[in-house]
Symmetry: C2
Subunit: 297 residues, 2 copies
């Protein structure tokens, strides 16, 4: 097989970075606010969510670049969530991707506003005729709905709330699953679904890809929890052992390291099986699933 997932990722990461740079060079606002937004947005993220969106889209349509405004909106929402999660009032992290976190550089007020600005800008981008050019209104609304549902109280925000509320408490595996499904899997699921919806996927394909998104999203967070225990601060670019310090409700904490790794492997296997009917067109999604399991950063 000739498919090389690393080359695939690299090209699309370039597309996303170029598109994000373009969006921000065309906007005006008080400079320290924009600097704070750009700082976190361009801090070397892997762009997994936008790339998943494009990969799902490309099962049904030719060119992933067609949905770059949506992919950029997704990355803005992801970045806002990192900025707010790192705040002293939340997880209080000083380091992210090997760099000082947004509030360490720009202060708490600018970091809160940078997050608010990125979240709002994501919705502005998709609703703006001049920038989400050419996509029909109903497709843009459907994409917005997925993004808002994945990011909101039934998704990421709800998961983050439960995560914070469970610190320093003994919780069971159901609570950890509740947190993982919302805090991490909801937005990854939304990314895959947005790509499929924009690609006009038939219902049964959308259902299959939704299951794929949930499975890799959950595995992603379990691997994250494992890396927090086993990983290296320098390699991770953020402080290892941070979960333990806050007595976070993590998968390794409730199920042990060995079972966590087995569960992540099971989920990735399941995600790949779901892709079966798509054949070669799903090679990118399959490759990304494998990378999620193997990642060490």
């Amino acid at each position: 097989m000739n498919f090389d997932v690393k080359t695939y990722l690299k090209l699309r990461k370039t597309w996303v970075n170029e598109a994000l740079t373009g969006i921000f060079s065309a906007r005006k606002a008080p400079e320290p606010l924009f600097e704070a937004m750009r700082y976190s947005l361009m801090a070397g993220g892997k762009r997994i969510r936008p790339i998943l969106m494009m990969a799902a889209y490309e099962i049904f349509r030719e060119n992933g670049r067609d949905i770059l405004p949506f992919a950029c909106a997704m990355e803005m929402v992801h970045t806002y969530s990192l900025i707010h999660d790192d705040l002293p009032a939340m997880d209080d992290d000083d380091l992210r991707r090997g760099m000082p976190t947004c509030h360490k550089v720009y202060g708490d007020a600018m970091a809160i506003l940078a997050g608010d600005g990125l979240l709002t800008e994501a919705f502005h981008l998709i609703s703006d005729d001049a920038r989400a050019g050419g996509w029909p209104a109903d497709a843009r609304l459907a994409a917005l709905r997925e993004l808002a549902a994945g990011a909101g109280v039934d998704g990421m925000v709800g998961g983050q709330a439960m995560d914070i509320l469970s610190e320093h408490k003994e919780v069971g595996i159901e609570t950890v699953r509740f947190i993982h499904a919302r805090k991490t899997a909801a937005l990854i699921r939304a990314a895959v679904r947005m790509g499929a919806l924009l690609g006009n996927a038939p219902d049964n394909d959308l259902t299959a890809l939704t299951r794929y998104g949930e499975a890799i999203g959950t595995a992603f967070q379990i691997v994250d929890d494992v890396l927090d225990v086993e990983g290296d601060t320098e390699l991770l670019g953020k402080a290892a052992g941070a979960d333990d310090k806050l007595e976070k409700a993590t998968y390794p904490h409730v199920a042990g390291l060995a079972e966590s790794k087995r569960e992540a492997a099971r989920l990735i296997k399941q995600a790949k099986e779901v892709l079966g009917p798509f054949g070669e067109k799903a090679e990118p999604l399959k490759g990304i699933a494998e990378l999620i399991l193997e990642r060490n950063t």
Copy 2:
């Protein structure tokens, strides 16, 4: 003349409160998060922005209730901005509408997430077919665009950033105008424009109502600044003198109290003149403009 603006406001406030209650009773999330969102959302706000939206709509269409999902989304965005502005890292206010602020009751983390949740929920509500029932996709997208533009980096978030950045600094009247136009007027302008757009207003009417929104929005903030100097903490329901403590860039600070009052009166006069061509249909908007000038809370 028989038009009674107080009765008009009271009825519509009831509509908005009932609709907001309905939205939240149908949703599920970790309880302390929802409690924090509801606490601030139902803390006795005057619902000026949603009512302005309905009043603008009613110039062109019969029933303001038709746009309640949009009106509720607007109030959610306004409420999120209050929660985040009150945070210790921002304006550090303990009191709002006579009650402890969100973070004083639920802690900083839940307050940040409650704000994030409300902002996201606003966009979810409008993009959700099940809840923004019946409105065509292009009207919903246009409304979303107005909301996001008014709330984002070119609007409210940008204004709030400049407001924070100008604390403890000597700034000129241009900076105060920049802050007022964005921090306050942008969202009020968006409320009026959303009503007009949903009412399918002709272009020249939309232009006139945009000017009305800008004028009353700016006057609203000038009166707010004046009340912070002259008002009574008990009546205001928030600490008077807070601007002075932070050496905020306010209109009274750069232009004096007397000139601030004259400027507010000029703006309200201008707003009412713009409404001339709409005749009786604009009585509610005229009445609201007058109330903004006369308000003492």
